[in-house]
């Protein structure tokens, strides 16, 4: 059980990519800010711990957790079965939908046409496998910024991404976009910790529940996202 060692050190090391606005990103002061760090810090505080934010590349982020480079990932990680086999999840701490975006006036208007499209996804995200399963022609990129660039550049016809991040990012960039409607379940984003730490999981879950109860969560969500995304 790692809860004890963490308590002993008094520091909770929290990882995220630092490049996924508005959930987590670097501001002009070179600080990592956004929804994720705010939630992470709040949870740590409620557990009586200092939070230390660590940014790391998304494709190695679970590797780093397993390698004990940090204690938790509060980085907008979608809860999936496969991931659940190697890590434990606390949460979900927000929910989002999978969304498919195109440029305005695109020839692709329905999900059935995508067999002929170049589909952009982020390496290592759940959307990659989902798109591949459908037999689409998939191109992978390091992150959302590259995806949006490529959509603009026309090298991909559509991108598959979490709806909130993409919509906010496009707004930020002033990019025009359209969405393709399709049936999709909601996804929960969870906090990943190493397996076999029920006490840690329980204490984090309790902290999360409490902040959802007392309105702190809504304040954070309104500040960074502009909506309650529970």
């Amino acid at each position: 059980e790692e809860l004890d060692t963490i308590k002993e050190k008094g520091v909770l090391r929290i990882a995220m990519s630092g490049a996924y606005p508005p959930f987590n990103f670097v501001n002009d002061q070179n600080e990592v800010v956004g929804f994720d760090p705010a939630i992470g810090v709040e949870i740590a505080k409620r557990m009586g711990l200092e939070a230390e934010i660590i940014t790391t590349n998304w494709d190695g982020i679970i590797g780093g957790l397993l390698a004990n480079k940090y204690d938790a990932i509060v980085g907008s990680m979608t809860i999936t079965e496969e991931r659940d086999e190697v890590v434990d999840f606390v949460g979900p701490y927000y929910t989002t939908k999978r969304a498919i975006f195109t440029k305005p006036g695109s020839e692709f208007t329905s999900i059935d046409q995508l067999g002929d499209a170049e589909v952009g996804v982020t390496l290592g995200e759940t959307h990659e496998e989902w798109a591949r399963e459908r037999g689409w022609s998939v191109r992978t990129y390091k992150g959302l910024p590259e995806l949006l660039l490529e959509l603009e550049n026309g090298r991909v016809d559509v991108i598959v991404n979490d709806s909130i991040a993409a919509i906010l990012a496009m707004g930020e960039k002033g990019q025009e976009f359209e969405t393709i409607e399709f049936e999709t379940e909601e996804f929960g984003a969870g906090i990943a910790i190493r397996e076999g730490n029920p006490a840690l999981a329980a204490e984090m879950q309790a902290a999360l529940d409490a902040m959802m109860e007392d309105g702190t969560y809504v304040d954070i969500a309104m500040e960074w996202i502009g909506a309650d995304i529970r």
Binding site: G63, L66, V87, L123, G124, T140, E146, L149
Partner: protein, 218 residues
């Protein structure tokens, strides 16, 4: 948490595909860097000043910045000004140009070192300067730098791993993808390293043979 290589066979197809891509990129970039190197060397030595100066700047840029950054710029940057390169092509061009600049340095020195009598002899036969360069001086210079160029080619193979950052599914990215599914970084990186090493040995073998053949014409 011990090591478990039993997860590897399931992903061997992805890895092998990565090997193929790695070889393709390396081959393409190697060819580009070789001929590009010769071309740059001739330009740097014999081009008119308005070609030489920008070339110097270009050389500087490539020598002074990391390949990683150059790959980003070529892939995500050029398309902003309307040059749309597929990731594979961008990778080949980035790697190829990067090493072409290094090769050019080597070849320039070698061209200068070719005996002046060679140019003279060619000119007395009536060959023009361009012809003499093409048929007499440059072939000798290139032959003299085969070993160090070979070293660059091997460095190029290893730097092809960086092309993963622009999303070409070469060996490193394939390993990362397998890791993304299994979360077993150590096993797959070791496997990837082994493949790189084998390709590297193959290249060294080929280079040794080329060197030996070239030796005859000295």
């Amino acid at each position: 948490m011990g090591l478990d290589f039993t997860v590897v066979p399931g992903y061997l197809d992805i890895i092998l595909l990565g090997v193929v891509w790695t070889i393709a990129i390396t081959l393409g970039a190697a060819i580009l860097s070789f001929f590009g190197g010769i071309f740059f060397a001739v330009i740097a030595l014999y081009g008119p000043w308005f070609v030489r100066l920008p070339f110097r700047a270009f050389e500087w840029l490539f020598m002074g910045t990391p390949l990683l950054l150059q790959l980003f710029l070529i892939y995500f940057g050029l398309v902003q000004i309307g040059i749309d390169l597929p990731a594979f092509v961008a990778g080949v061009i980035g790697l190829g140009l990067h090493f072409a600049v290094y090769n050019s340095e080597l070849i320039q020195t070698a061209i200068i070192a070719v005996d002046r009598g060679q140019m003279e002899a060619a000119r007395t036969l009536g060959l023009s300067r361009g012809q003499a360069l093409r048929k007499v001086v440059v072939p000798q210079a290139v032959r003299d730098v085969i070993p160090p160029i070979g070293n660059n080619m091997i460095a190029l193979l290893k730097d092809s791993a960086l092309v993963s950052v622009i999303g070409v599914s070469e060996l490193t990215l394939s390993a990362q993808r397998a890791i993304g599914n299994t979360y077993r970084p150590f096993e797959f990186y070791v496997v990837a390293a082994a493949f790189y090493y084998v390709i590297n040995l193959g290249m060294e073998w080929v280079l040794r043979r080329i060197e030996r053949r070239v030796q005859a014409a000295r």
